[in-house]
Every structure is written in C-alpha cells, then in structure tokens.
C-alpha cells in the first residue's frame, strides 16, 4: 500500500471560541526539500535571566512569600533521541492561587496577590535540567456561559538552538483536565503534559512536580542529523 504524504489538518479546540476564530482550516502544506533548512530557526543563547527569577514564589529575593502552596517544578529537557537541550531559555508564567494573572490584559477581576507576579525565567544546565519554584495556580472560569474551567496549569515557553516549544504543565487528578479544549485534542498523549508529584523534605516548598520535556519534530535535531 502506498500513502501520499500530506500535511496535518489542524483541529479546533472544542468550546474554545478563539480556537474557532484562529485555527487554519486548510491542510498545512508540505515544505519542499530545497526549502526545508530555512524553516529551522536557530535561537542564539540569550543572557536575559536575572538572579532570583527562578523563584516565582517571591517578587524579589528576600521579599515576602506569595499566598498559596509553594511548589517546585523540575525536569530535564531533551530531544526525541534523548539528547539534552543545553542552555535553553525557559520563560514561565502562571496564575496566582485564585486563578488571576497579573497581565495588564487580564480583566477578570479575580483577587490579586501583592506578593505574586507569576513570571519567571530559568536556563537549562549542561545536562538539560531545570528547576523553578512557583505558587500552585488556581483553576479559573474560562467560559462562564457554559461553566467551563481552565484546569490548573503553568505556561512554559522553551527556546534554545533549533528547539522551540510552547507548552503547559498540567496537574494530576484535576477534574477540569477532562474538559479543557487543548487537553481534549491531545487525547491519551495528554498524560505527557502532566507533572508527577514528588516529596521535597529538605527544601522550603510543599512538594514538587517532575516535568520532563521532550522537544519533538525534525527541527530540534535538524543540525545533528
């Protein structure tokens, strides 16, 4: 049997109005081989992180702790062949314990926390490992008209070399996971985006989540092939 290679047809996230408005409806086009290398952005190392930016539980080192449950999130970033993604930049943002972002465009009116910005940066080490602390975020009502919540999640944007990934870490056992539009589209693969709980007896957080990140696609390994 021969199959003709086709680009993906993207799916619209159920009950997500923005997804309906913005998801391309035509099948993605295939990139001709002669043009393929030009589709591999290579992001240089950027010296942008500041001291303390890996601790989102405080606005600045020495400042008071934010409300809620302090957690650690850590893991290893690698490509699908298991090669570590070294010195990659992780940009991290999450809502406070009540489900509110400090972003100037979040007009939800949900309670703010004067000790929480929800913004952080960290770079991976020589083995691709990263660690940051934050406050366990709250779920929030995304569609009041149908009562749909966005489950607790942490946004992570990763860039380093030819690896580029924007994703979200979800939390295990949350009932709202089942109705999230993007989580629904992931199907069984959703489990890969759920952090795994570990104990943290000797550090000043309540517990941790292990979140290993595998950057997929051909771009991540393009210059290693």
């Amino acid at each position: 049997m021969t199959m003709t290679l086709q680009g993906r047809l993207l799916e619209v996230g159920p009950t997500d109005n923005t997804s309906d408005q913005r998801t391309p409806r035509k099948r993605l086009r295939l990139i001709p081989q002669a043009a393929r290398e030009s589709f591999v952005p290579y992001i240089p190392q950027q010296a942008v992180t500041r001291q303390g930016e890996n601790d989102l539980t405080r606005i600045a080192p020495g400042a008071p702790r934010a409300q809620g449950t302090p957690i650690e999130v850590s893991g290893r970033v690698c490509t699908q062949t298991g090669q570590p993604v070294r010195h990659a930049l992780l940009e991290i943002w999450n809502a406070n314990m009540f489900g509110r972002y400090t972003h100037i465009e979040d007009h939800s009116g949900i309670q703010l926390d004067p000790n929480f910005l929800g913004l952080g940066r960290v770079t991976t080490d020589d083995e691709g490992r990263y660690t940051f602390w934050t406050i366990s975020p709250g779920a929030y009502l995304a569609r009041p008209d149908i009562g749909r919540y966005r489950p607790k999640h942490i946004h992570i944007s990763l860039s380093g070399g030819s690896s580029r990934l924007i994703t979200q870490m979800y939390f295990p056992g949350e009932e709202n996971n089942a109705t999230d539009p993007m989580a629904t589209l992931m199907g069984d693969a959703f489990e890969r985006n759920v952090g795994q709980v570990y104990e943290t007896p000797h550090i000043d957080v309540h517990h941790g989540y292990r979140f290993d990140i595998v950057v997929g696609g051909r771009n991540a390994t393009f210059f290693e092939d």
């Binding site: 680009g7 408005q21 391309p24 993605l28 952005p41 580029r164 595998v214 950057v215």
Partner: protein
C-alpha cells in the same frame, strides 16, 4: 536515521496554546529591531533597512490580539546563523537573524534588514505565530518584485491564487530610510494564509 532508531525515539511533549497572556515582561526590544544589535552602539549589521508591517486577522476579519510572532532570516549576504554555517566568512557579526514581538491588538511592525537570497531561494523571512486557541504555525514571507520570486521552490509549490498571500507589498520608504513592506496574515477562512507543516515534512 534507521528504523530502529525511530522506534526508540521518545514521545514528544505536546505543544499547547500560548494563551492570551504571554508576559510583556519577556519583551526584548533588541528582538523587534534587528537593524541594531543594541541601542547606543556604533556597530550594526550590513544591509538595507526594511519594515515588515501588517495585521494578523482571524476568520471573521477581526484582529487577532495577543499574538506572539517570531522571525527568522538570512543576513544581507544570504547566510543563516546556524551550526551548518558556523565557519562561513559571510556571517555578519552583528546579525543573528532571530526576532520576536508580541502584538497587543494584532497589528505588527518588525524592523530588520532585507534578507539576502540563500541557496537559490528568493529573499524570505520565516514567520512563526503563537496565539491563544492554537499551537505554533509557520510560514514564509516574500517581497514584491524581489529577484527569484518566480523560481523559488516554496512559492512554486503554491497555486497562483495562494502565491500573493505570502508576498509582502512594497509601500514606499519611511523618513529614516527604511523600505516598508505590508502583509496581512489571515489565520483562517476563504483568504487564509498558506501555512506549512514542519513536523510531517
């Protein structure tokens, strides 16, 4: 890569939507104007200054607010700063070729240098879009009347109807000497911008 290697490959983490609140805190003005490596320096990349400008529209023709746009291009001599060209003497020490901006309303303006043609390709800028409601999508932007548009491998793969959707229209020159190019990106609908699949192809 052998079939055996493919079987041993790890499952990728799913991409997810960037959501509406990509932090403005992460903005870096140096990535929004590639004609200068840093404000206040006398050193700067070679090349003709251009501004690529336009709107990102949804399938109803409304502005797509909060989009994050990333740009990737060759320098004025057509060389990309990748490991494949690490020793190329035509690398520009003041040009990385990677840009990023977040548009609050859905309108964008990116200042850079006109990319040189690389490996027989027409001058182009690779555009990655992150937005609420979708995962990463990618395409390439070309320039009106640029040499090589009629033989470019990517443009040639498109229908006559689709080609103009990726060619930015020249719209004069600014007071400070930058050539302006205009292109609207239409995320979905009848006039949808062609997007490409860098996972399958």
């Amino acid at each position: 890569m052998s079939a055996n290697d493919k079987q041993n490959m790890l499952f990728p983490t799913n991409e997810d939507t960037v959501g509406p609140y990509f932090p403005i805190y992460f903005r870096d003005e140096r990535l929004e104007d590639l004609t200068s490596i840093h404000p206040g320096l006398i050193v700067a990349p070679e090349g003709k200054h251009i501004i690529l400008r336009g709107r990102v529209l949804d399938r109803h023709g409304d502005l797509a607010n909060g989009v994050v746009m990333e740009f990737w291009q060759a320098n004025a001599k057509g060389v990309y700063r990748t490991p494949a060209h690490a020793d190329n003497p035509d690398l520009d020490p003041w040009f990385n070729g990677y840009g990023r901006l977040r548009s609050k309303a859905g309108e964008y303006s990116f200042r850079t240098i006109f990319p040189g043609s690389s490996k027989g390709r027409a001058p182009n800028i690779t555009l990655t879009i992150f937005s609420d409601g979708i995962n990463r999508v990618v395409t390439q932007v070309f320039f009106e009347d640029a040499e090589g548009n009629d033989t470019d491998s990517l443009l040639s793969s498109l229908s006559e109807e689709d080609k103009p959707k990726l060619i930015a229209r020249h719209d004069g020159r600014t007071a400070d000497g930058a050539e302006v190019y205009l292109l609207d990106i239409i995320m979905a609908g009848d006039q949808e911008t062609p997007f490409f699949d860098d996972l399958v192809s």
